[in-house]
């Protein structure tokens, strides 16, 4: 598919900020499943600072804004050509050893129930096991917006039995790790869900290192592996570590946030 993505985040501050520093992971990864063209990142009134590809293969851009400013707009506009690789992250250049992703974070820490959930799945190899885990997680946590929030942990989401893609990804990571499989959090975009309804929001899923095939994506929330409807931005231990935007505003207290995402197929 050829996708046109427009992603705009508008921050409004009660009192003008004196400075803003952001670290952006907002550029599509390079692998066989996707290739970006005309990709533009802009931070209103900002200066583009350090930019580099990190060991995990993510393109990072730092931006700084000098105040006083009471509104900032981070805007992404670009096109991505995608191809279905059945979730396999083939041709992705990265140098971080997969074992690094066996580390638990507060969001992905195991508890008794997560272990129990993980134990219900089995498979003759890593790939089959990961598929079974994704199905179990999708079953145990029903998709529902508004019951969980940004700091909800995998264990809490499982206890609630409801959550959003972030919660599914965290639970998937925890369960994979319970079986000794390295797993990580992926942030990105999704064109439409499995029923073809447009998905106008950022998305997240998990990747599991399955051995022979390397990293394979699993979207437990949508009970599938990422295909050509998905655009991958970057990865991390959890939602916090893989966040597309990490920033710090100085000299101001409260901010309000307005996000607009549109992922449209480009007619060819």
């Amino acid at each position: 598919m050829k996708l046109h993505i427009v992603h705009e985040t508008r921050y409004r501050y009660d009192t003008p900020l004196t400075a803003l520093v952001q670290s952006l992971r907002l550029t599509p990864s390079i692998f066989e499943g996707q290739r970006a063209s005309d990709w533009n990142i802009n931070v209103s009134g900002g200066i583009r600072g350090s930019a580099f590809r990190d060991g995990a293969g993510d393109w990072i851009e730092a931006w700084t804004v000098r105040g006083p400013v009471d509104e900032i707009v981070v805007s992404i506009d670009g096109q991505v050509e995608t191809r279905d690789t059945a979730g396999v992250l083939r041709g992705h250049r990265e140098t971080v050893n997969p074992l690094v992703y066996l580390r638990a974070t507060p969001a992905t820490a195991l508890d008794g129930d997560l272990r129990g959930l993980a134990a219900t799945a089995s498979g003759e190899d890593g790939l089959a096991l990961a598929h079974a885990l994704a199905a179990a997680v999708g079953e145990a946590i029903r998709y529902r917006v508004g019951v969980t929030e940004v700091f909800t942990t995998a264990a809490e989401a499982l206890a609630l039995g409801e959550g959003v893609c972030q919660d599914h990804a965290h639970a998937m990571i925890a369960c994979a790790r319970a079986h000794g499989l390295p797993a990580r959090y992926v942030s990105g975009y999704l064109h439409s869900n499995i029923d073809g309804e447009p998905h106008d929001a950022a998305h997240a899923w998990a990747e599991v290192h399955t051995g022979v095939l390397g990293w394979v994506g699993f979207d437990a929330a949508n009970r599938c592996c990422p295909d050509d409807r998905y655009v991958r931005l970057g990865s991390g231990f959890d939602a916090h570590d893989a966040a597309p935007v990490r920033g710090m505003a100085f000299g101001t207290s409260a901010e309000s946030l307005e996000v607009r995402v549109s992922v449209q197929e480009v007619e060819q």
């Binding site: 400075a19 520093v21 600072g49 580099f52 990190d54 060991g55 995990a56 140098t95 690094v100 990490r246």
Partner: protein
């Protein structure tokens, strides 16, 4: 059974011959006067030591023992070669594990110990700091068990502290006993601050043109080593800053000054990795600089020690340092490692649990003499209590034999008596690898005690290396 560094058989060893007469002829009232004088100087200059979580007087002095510890030139040369060799190997290891991981591919160290190590920083994989140096100040803790027997107890690759004591102890000794320094040829240590400054300046980033600006980043005056941070800044003539004094703008880090922002090229940080940058590590950190890691990873600033350097110095990786020396340098280790049992290995676990009364058991990431068991000095209840902790989490512990730490003559209530000591020299790694002739000698002041940590009743001594 313990090696006495002053007395061998019935003879006074040569490096101590002059000191032996000096201490023997010092009247006890003069000694008490001098001791009081030393303490008042320490208090006046403000070198006190606070230990987290210990309570008590935060302005407590570390006891200073006026009796110096002495090395002959020949003894020191060997230690120096051994320490530099180790510092080189540790840096080569860090370069390797954040790069291709050759030592792991060669199966000389288990990959789990590196990649599943909490101190391994994913964020700096593939980042090669200037001159390939990750640990710019390597503190190597050494103990002596015989005339030619030295063992490395642990390596400190992050931010080893204590060098201010090395410098201040010497300063005070020279002030109080100038005659001793006229009659002994003692190698000076006062070049350390300038060597440290040169070392740090030598690792300025590629993007730095001209004379690099170096600063020390401190967590602030609540930190137990704050005195040392301000002392070193002062000695080097550089700025001491806190996180809020620095900020990122565009591709660089700047320091706020009265004349406006000034670009910073090298940050000697005394802040732990996880607090360095809330945009990369702990988001709740107020001690770091938001955006610092992006500037660092793009080569706009140098950080000493490099984030991630801690993966080389935990007690599990320690057991493989001799392998690192062979692998990277093609040399045999000059300094020995202490035999170490790793409790995550089944055989080692069995052995250790049936010999707890003979061994020292330590936490893999522990430091400061906390969380350890010294079998021969513990009661049956203490051993039983510790056994439970080991059984709950064997992977968190290593065990070592109780070492017969050497003793040095030390002033005590009753006069002069042998007390156990260790040594921490500070090796500098930049354009060159440098070691000033000396270090921090810590002494266990309690009779029979083998714990030299200042938090556990340890004191410090001046450490002499004789020129001839």
């Amino acid at each position: 059974m313990y090696y006495n560094e002053m007395i061998e058989g019935s003879d006074v060893r040569e490096p101590y011959s002059m000191l032996f007469d000096w201490m023997g002829t010092m009247p006890s009232d003069l000694r008490q006067m001098k001791q009081a004088e030393a303490e008042s100087i320490f208090r006046r200059i403000g070198i006190t030591f606070a230990v987290y979580g210990e309570g008590g007087d935060p302005d407590r002095l570390i006891p200073f023992d006026m009796m110096p510890r002495v090395f002959m030139q020949s003894e020191w040369r060997r230690l120096e070669r051994g320490v530099k060799q180790r510092a080189r190997a540790l840096n080569a290891f860090l370069r390797d594990v954040y790069g291709r991981g050759e030592i792991i591919r060669a199966r000389r160290i288990p990959e789990r110990l590196v990649y599943q190590n909490d101190a391994f920083e994913k964020a700096v994989v593939g980042v090669v700091p200037p001159r390939g140096v990750y640990s710019h100040i390597v503190g190597i803790d050494l103990v002596r068990t015989g005339r030619d027997e030295f063992y490395v107890l642990e390596d400190n690759c992050r931010t080893p502290s204590g060098v201010s004591y090395m410098l201040e102890n010497r300063e005070i000794m020279m002030r109080m006993f100038p005659a001793l320094f006229r009659s002994n040829k003692i190698e000076p240590v006062d070049a350390y601050p300038e060597l440290l400054r040169q070392t740090l300046a030598s690792v300025a980033p590629r993007k730095c043109d001209g004379d690099p600006t170096v600063v020390i980043l401190t967590p602030g005056h609540f930190n137990s080593a704050y005195y040392e941070h301000s002392f070193l800044a002062n000695q080097m003539g550089i700025e001491l800053v806190e996180g809020s004094d620095l900020f990122v703008d565009g591709e660089y880090v700047y320091m706020r000054t009265t004349e406006g922002p000034k670009r910073v090229d090298v940050i000697y940080r005394r802040v732990d990795d996880s607090f360095l940058d809330p945009l990369c590590f702990r988001r709740d950190s107020m001690l770091g600089v938001p955006g610092l890691m992006d500037v660092y990873r793009a080569g706009g600033v140098s950080i000493a020690s490099a984030p991630g350097a801690g993966v080389a110095d935990d007690k599990a990786v320690y057991t493989y340092v001799p392998e690192m020396i062979r692998f990277y340098l093609g040399e045999e280790p000059i300094l020995k490692n202490v035999q170490t049992w790793s409790l995550w290995k089944e055989d080692d676990y069995k052995y250790v649990l049936s010999h707890l009364d003979e061994l020292v058991v330590k936490e893999v990431h522990g430091s400061g003499g906390y969380g350890m068991l010294i079998g021969p000095k513990s009661t049956a209840e203490e051993i039983a209590e510790f056994r439970k902790r080991i059984e709950a989490n064997p992977g968190n512990y290593i065990a070592q034999p109780t070492l017969a730490l050497s003793t040095c003559p030390t002033f005590v209530e009753e006069g002069v008596a042998p007390r156990h000591v260790d040594l921490r020299p500070f090796c500098l790694c930049g354009e060159r690898v440098e070691l000033v002739p000396g270090g921090l000698t810590r002494v266990a002041l309690r009779e029979g005690s083998l714990v030299v940590n200042s938090s556990q009743g340890g004191g410090v001594k001046d450490t002499w290396v004789l020129s001839e």
